[in-house]
Subunit: 377 residues, 2 copies
């Protein structure tokens, strides 16, 4: 799962990176959400007529994409943009926002396909794409099975988003040399996230996960993909030096891990209003997260058996979710995961302090660090 | 389904485009298969180490891709190449073969996802990608269900192929202006084929198909995608004039329809050694092809009911397949489909005669016309 972003942040505690307390009053500036949204909708609006000209029966594809793109926190575009700025790229260039926003289409593709693979019902507080198409099939009373139709349509919509992400990237008003440098990062990132998702599936299916193997999945499936590569993409587009690129890795890698671990904790303990998914959904889906691996490492035989029995049970009810939560807390799994988040976030913050970036980018990335990893209570 | 290409062609009758008899002795030259294979394997060989460096557990992804890419007739790259040559592009440019060969990765993605959506067991004479991963899951004795693992892994492999197709295209040693012109065609083609596949699913699920609606699916899902757009891509890369592009449409559109109708006939009546699929597989999958629509148009109530009852029955046995074949022949559906193929192929041949292309390209495309549409008995 991935947490939905609250539309208005009332305050985020800073204790994840050092025990201090502070309040972020205007994260939206750092997330450049308005600019990213404008670029994203401008692209989708340009594609819409072409699709509907093929057939007006493609309307449901467009609606499903609109619904998905209405949510999401635009974290990857923000990291891309601040990678650009950090490497000295100018603030006013419109091309960078287009290139950055294209990452949302890549992410949309990954989410749509992920939800098919996990049979997830919900995404960003709404029905997942395949459930949406499934419901349409039922409402229309078409013959045949609704579920394969829903899955098939969602596979195609995810393919379309993947194709459109590169189309949008290439449409960015940036110089050809920059786009070429960025393309190498984009290519790498796509291969990494797909490889990471395969390893994640392996991890989930084999039931032999350790903290180490779960962390390897986190590295490729989400840490590099969510933070390090978007930063690199921005820096590459701006022609950042090797030193800048390396400093962004030193910051982005641990931050990406901390972000995913926070996401895993939210997936079990988070408020559905924030995560956009029913409470306990990650447990029902049987995700073999680092949090679960830390719990199993600490659990006695009876507790471990209870985790293994309940994890991945699609019929897990509220009491079952509460029972699993209790085990994750009582074994010390949760505390160990929070401690890991703190360590990785602190490592990221230290690397950021030492990074040869522009002052404004360093400040913005400092705020994103907190936003991506802080406890939300 | 899509027919596998015989590794060695013993002779193809020309009667599909005018009743003459002739033999094509060296189709492989026109298909530039050797050159396309070299470019394709060079690209995959460059990607392999990066994937395995992430984890050697990604080996099965690589093997599944290798197996799929070993088959296929490389028809799209051939049309792209001859579109280039037809528009005056030089014979010796290595970049054009790379760009053309990238279409095989796009096609691999489409086939892998199509097989998941159709639950197909076989592709190009081998197990489909999802069945391959499913078998691996079973052989390893992993806990959990094998089928969702197989489908999930295949969805990811298809995504990887789609990402790699654009990566390979962009890697072609061609000038930036040409690649930009070609990219516009590539983008359009991807959107069209995904839209066409969605319309195909709608067609299959609603059971209200007519010849007209089946032909619309053919247009986007396969005619444009297989012939017209690959020709356009090559011509755009070569900087072909509007006149050349339009003449390639006049030739490619009817040829693409004729090609798909031939493929549909082969899907029902073809030799499994040639199609790479068990006899009657298209009938078991319930494909609502033009051939089926032509049959239903001509069938009396009893025959129509028999078609509707048997079509899409996964348990359809040899007798059931033979029964459906008999109805398709006896109603005149097959003859009507053959007549349509002849008409479209003749239209393509006439357009080719009038097209302002180089003589060599016209000759090569003439041979590809026959190869793509001729009866194979």
């Amino acid at each position: 799962m991935e947490a939905a972003w609250p539309s208005r942040r009332g305050g985020v505690t800073m204790d994840a990176i050092g025990g201090q307390m502070d309040t972020i009053t205007d994260m939206s500036t750092r997330l450049i959400r308005k600019e990213v949204d404008e670029a994203l909708w401008a692209f989708v609006d340009r594609q819409r007529p072409g699709l509907l000209a093929i057939s007006d029966e493609l309307g449901p594809m467009v609606s499903a994409l609109d619904a998905l793109l209405s949510g999401g926190k635009r974290l990857r575009p923000a990291f891309c943009y601040w990678g650009w700025r950090g490497a000295g790229g100018p603030a006013g260039a419109p091309g960078i926002v287009t290139a950055a926003a294209s990452l949302e289409l890549l992410q949309a593709s990954a989410l749509i396909h992920d939800d098919v693979m996990d049979s997830s019902d919900t995404r960003r507080g709404q029905p997942s794409a395949h459930r949406r198409f499934e419901a349409m099939h039922r409402e229309q009373g078409w013959p045949g099975a609704a579920a394969p139709f829903g899955a098939g349509a969602a596979i195609l919509l995810g393919d379309l988003c993947l194709a459109w992400s590169s189309e949008m990237y290439e449409s960015a008003a940036l110089d050809a040399a920059g786009l070429g440098r960025g393309r190498a990062v984009y290519d790498l990132m796509r291969t990494e996230v797909m490889a990471g998702q395969y390893l994640d599936m392996l991890e989930g299916t084999r039931d032999t996960g350790t903290v180490e193997t779960a962390l390897r999945v986190v590295e490729y499936k989400s840490a590099k993909y969510t933070v390090e590569r978007p930063l690199h993409l921005g820096a590459a587009l701006a022609g950042g030096s090797t030193e800048v690129i390396e400093s962004l890795s030193a910051y982005g890698r641990p931050l990406g891990v901390a972000f995913q671990l926070r996401d895993d904790v939210l997936g079990v303990f988070g408020d559905p209003a924030e995560t956009g998914k029913p409470a306990g959904d990650d447990l029902r889906e049987g995700k073999r997260t680092v949090l679960i691996a830390l719990t199993l490492e600490r659990a006695d035989a009876a507790a471990a058996a209870a985790v293994r029995r309940r994890l991945g049970d699609p019929a897990l009810d509220d009491a079952g979710v509460a029972g699993l939560r209790a085990i994750i807390e009582e074994t010390g799994g949760l505390a160990a995961c929070e401690a890991m988040i703190d360590r990785y976030a602190a490592e990221a913050a230290a690397a950021l302090d030492a990074a040869p970036l522009t002052a404004e980018a360093r400040e913005a990335l400092g705020e994103l660090t907190i936003a991506a990893t802080a406890r939300r209570v």
